[in-house]
């Protein structure tokens, strides 16, 4: 299968590979996996006092598309509030990387990883679903 240039670039030069301390209160960790292909993705976001994601890191073990999808979303989420990050859809990731239909699940995995990381952060910071402090500035 021919990968497009953007996938290859993110695969060969993945951005933001690495880890944060997952015990850190300001860090949300999302780990997801796709049984069908055996891919595993860990995505971490570091959130500042203003509720903005100031940094993101990932570790993905899987195919080129899975690595590219996670690399791309770590770039996208930086500078966003957690709410804005939650609005990222797998279709946007798939479109940006021009993923073929058989690789769409890789972008789904990346979207799920963001959601998992955000919910881990929310659980840790103890903010309620219906009124979190991070959103107040946007309201």
């Amino acid at each position: 299968m021919a990968y497009n240039d953007k996938v290859i670039d993110h695969y060969e030069n993945p951005r933001n590979v690495g880890s944060f301390d997952k015990e850190d209160d300001g860090v949300g960790t999302g780990v997801v996996g796709a049984p069908a292909c055996g891919d595993v993705m860990k995505l971490q976001i570091k959130i500042n006092d203003e509720g903005v994601i100031e940094d993101a890191k990932f570790k993905t073990y899987g195919c080129g598309s899975a690595i590219a999808s996670s690399s791309l979303v770590t770039e996208w989420v930086k500078g966003k509030t957690v709410e804005q990050a939650l609005a990222i859809k797998n279709t946007e990731i798939a479109e940006a990387l021009a993923l073929p239909p058989v690789k769409i699940h890789c972008s789904v995995l990346a979207e799920d990883a963001i959601k998992a990381a955000v919910s881990d952060y929310k659980a840790k910071s103890g903010t309620a679903e219906d009124g979190y402090k991070v959103c107040q500035s946007a309201a």
Binding site: V31, V32, G33, P35, A36, C37, G38, K42, H105, L109
Partner: protein, 181 residues
């Protein structure tokens, strides 16, 4: 088989190979039944048959092979057993694996990457051994869930975990094969 019957009435792979519908199977018995079936529908025995009967023989032979390939592999067998009991293992779309399990997978992957990078055949061999132990433990639990407790959704969740270990096993083997190049 004097008159060749159509395989249409056969319900499932277990019935086709005359095995009990369960996860724990006597694999020697499975082999024996498979060979018996193969002998009965072997093309050599089709020589004097009509075209229609020959086609039925071929259908039986194809179904028998498919049934055997599915039942002899424990993961494929579990997946199939769940399917005929109406439970989808959701391996395509269920990404909600237990976090602990996924973090373990990351650890395995990191070790594999290090061992492969160092071209360390001993470390890769140790991974193979550990993986075998891990898989055996999970398959024992799976047998209990499927055959004794009939907890099918829990069994489906375990099949999803075993799918990861399957992929990991293939990747370790690839890394070992790469050392020989």
């Amino acid at each position: 088989m004097n008159q060749v019957m159509s395989p249409v009435g056969v319900d499932n792979h277990f019935e086709l190979l005359q095995m009990p519908v369960r996860f724990r199977l006597d694999l020697a018995e499975l082999d024996r039944h498979y060979l018996e079936m193969q002998t009965r529908v072997h093309p050599d025995r089709s020589a004097n048959l009509s075209d229609a009967e020959r086609r039925l023989h071929l259908q039986w032979a194809t179904l028998t092979n498919e049934a055997y390939q599915t039942l002899k592999q424990p993961l494929a067998r579990a997946r199939y057993l769940l399917k005929i009991r109406g439970v989808d293992t959701q391996e395509e779309d269920n990404t909600a694996m237990p976090t602990e399990f996924l973090l373990e997978q990351i650890d395995w992957r990191e070790e594999l990457q290090t061992a492969a990078g160092d071209r360390d055949a001993c470390a890769l061999g140790r991974l193979v051994t550990r993986l075998k132990v891990e898989r055996n433990t999970l398959f024992e639990t799976l047998a209990t869930l499927l055959d004794d407790d009939h907890k099918l959704p829990a069994a489906a969740a375990l099949v999803r975990q075993l799918a990861f270990l399957d992929k990991l096993g293939r990747d370790i083997n690839d890394a070992l094969a790469a050392l020989e190049d």
